[in-house]
Symmetry: C2
Subunit: 149 residues, 2 copies
């Protein structure tokens, strides 16, 4: 693949790491994806300190990845926005890799399925325009206008 001199900041991957590059943040997003909405529920599932959880939820809301709303009982609720849902392919790709390469000795942990059919989803893969799986060595990179010198 052709080398490019872009620095670590003008890099879409580094920008994403600025949003999700922290363990608690990723686990909060995981739980939001699983349907958790309430502060106390996140706290109990994660075993996370209140102040850290409050900070992370605020960061994710400020980023527009979670939306904060007041629930029926007056307590705040946090839900993934569309921008937040678009992080799910990253989370699933991470889960697939971890389940394969850092396995639990008893077998698969979470198995992701299509709710409609109950069948396992496909393993996350890079695909060509025609839909074929590509090995990373088959991927090239072109400089877009955001990388021009």
């Amino acid at each position: 693949m052709q080398l490019t001199s872009f620095d670590q900041w003008n890099c879409s991957l580094a920008q994403t790491m600025n949003v999700i590059g922290e363990r608690w943040t990723v686990l909060i997003l995981r739980d939001a994806f699983f349907g958790v909405t309430r502060f106390e529920h996140f706290r109990k599932r994660l075993g996370i300190a209140r102040n850290i959880l409050a900070t992370r939820l605020k960061q994710l809301a400020d980023e527009g990845v979670l939306a904060r709303a007041v629930g029926e009982n007056g307590r705040p609720e946090y839900r993934l926005t569309d921008k937040g849902y678009e992080l799910v392919p990253i989370l699933i790709a991470m889960a697939h890799w971890g389940d394969k390469h850092k396995p639990n000795p008893k077998g698969a942990r979470a198995i992701f399925v299509d709710r409609k059919t109950g069948k396992r989803i496909q393993r996350m893969a890079v695909r060509s325009a025609e839909g074929e799986r590509l090995h990373p060595k088959e991927i090239g990179m072109k400089r877009g206008p955001g990388l021009s010198a």
Copy 2:
């Protein structure tokens, strides 16, 4: 999605974060994917301190994500292993998200293409067994043996 009481450690996603959940690590993997192999080359591209780079490269080699070998001139070279290449779907999914949601005002940064055809790869997406794109709300989760109580 059905809630599950697994803790943050018996979680494939958390396990992956243990390997790549650090900004420099992800940028080192990015550059390895782009063909960088030598310590000095990583260091110059990333502007990273020598001791931090040495530590991160060692961690990635210990993890089996990079393989360390002695190059022709006696200097060490670091290359992605198969296990490392399997991280690429995560990196590409991160790059796609960042390019869309944290854009450079001039436009796209890196554009990933199929080397054979020059066409853009597909946007990373979760797909059903039949190959259809699934919205995250259409994904369910089953407990595998690694999550049984």
